[in-house]
Symmetry: C2
Subunit: 146 residues, 2 copies
DNA sequence: TATTGTTATACTCTATAACTATA
DNA sequence: TATAGTTATAGAGTATAACAATA
C-alpha cells in the first residue's frame, strides 16, 4: 500500500474531506489493481490503451519519463496484455495496443474498481451535478498560474 | 512523477471530475514535496509527526507494513528531520518526533502545497460547505462493506 | 512466549544518461 | 543531425520473512 498524500494540517473541514476523498480513491484503485495482479501503474497504462497509442503520447499524458513507460509497457507485453508494433510509415514510432487478454483483464479491473460508481451512487442526480460543478470550479486552481 | 490512478472509462461527468481532482491533488502534493527535497512518503510521514508518535501507530494510519515505516523514518532521521527514542516505560516502543529542522521543512512544504487552499479559495463559503457535504456523503461508500 | 520494531532481501516505480534505430 | 524509443543504472517505496530486543 502506497502511503497517502497527506495529511496536511487541514485548516478547513472542506480541505480535510478533500484529502479523505483522494486517499480513499487511491486506496480503492490500488486494491482493485492488486486483485487482478496489476500494479497501479500497469492498471493506469492499460486503461489508456483503449485505442492504439504511441509511447510519447503515453509518457506525455502520464507526466512521467519515456523510459518509465518503456518498462511498464514491456512488462505488459511480457504478460501478453499489450503489444508494441513499429509504425510502417515511420519505424521510429511504436504503436501500442491491448491484446484480447489485456481487454479482459482491464474489464475485470474496472468491474472491481467500483469506488467512483459507488461514490456517485450515494448521491441524488441533482447532487451529482452539484458535485461535478463544484469540483470543476475548485480545479480552476490549475489555470491560475504557479 | 507517479503515474495517475486512472483513467477508468468514466461513465459520468462526475466520475471524470473525481479522477481529475484526485490526479491534480496528487501531482500537486508530489511537486510540493519535491520542492523541499522530500519524497511523497517522507512528506506524508513528516506530516504525521505533529505530535510524538509510535511506529505501529504510523504504519496503521498509513496502511502499510511496519518495515516500510522503519525505512522512511530511518531516512528522516539520517537527514535529521526526525528522531527515534526508546520509550523508557517499555523499551520495545519507539517515540518518533520531528526535530526543529523537521518542523521547518514541513512548514515550508505546507506553504508550497497550496492546492487544497486554492481549490477552496475558488469557492464561495456556501459552496465550500456544499462540497464538504457532498464529499462526505459520497464517501459513505466506504462504510457499505467490500 | 508474545510483542515491537529492525534487517535482509527482492521486486516495482521512477528518473538520468547513454545508446540504437530510423529518418 | 534530429527524433523515437530503449537500455543501463541507480535510488526510493513496498512487502515478506527472518531476526533481535524487550517484556
Amino acid at each position: 500500500m502506497t502511503v497517502p498524500s497527506g495529511p496536511v494540517s487541514a485548516t478547513t473541514e472542506t480541505e480535510r474531506l478533500m484529502f479523505e476523498f483522494v486517499d480513499a480513491y487511491e486506496r480503492a484503485f490500488e486494491a482493485a489493481a492488486k486483485e487482478h495482479g496489476l500494479s497501479p501503474a500497469h492498471a493506469c497504462v492499460l486503461g489508456r490503451l483503449d485505442s492504439v497509442r504511441g509511447m510519447g503520447e503515453l509518457s506525455d499524458e502520464l507526466g512521467c519519463d519515456a523510459s518509465n513507460v518503456t518498462q511498464i509497457v514491456a512488462r505488459l507485453e511480457a504478460r501478453e496484455l499489450a503489444v508494441r508494433q513499429a509504425n510502417p510509415d515511420d519505424r521510429r514510432f511504436r504503436q501500442i495496443q491491448r491484446t484480447t487478454a489485456g481487454d479482459a483483464v482491464y474489464a475485470a479491473f474496472e468491474e472491481s474498481f467500483d469506488f467512483p460508481r459507488r461514490a456517485v451512487a450515494n448521491l441524488t442526480t441533482k447532487e451529482q451535478r452539484q458535485l461535478a460543478t463544484l469540483l470543476g470550479k475548485s480545479l480552476a486552481v490549475k489555470e491560475r498560474g504557479a
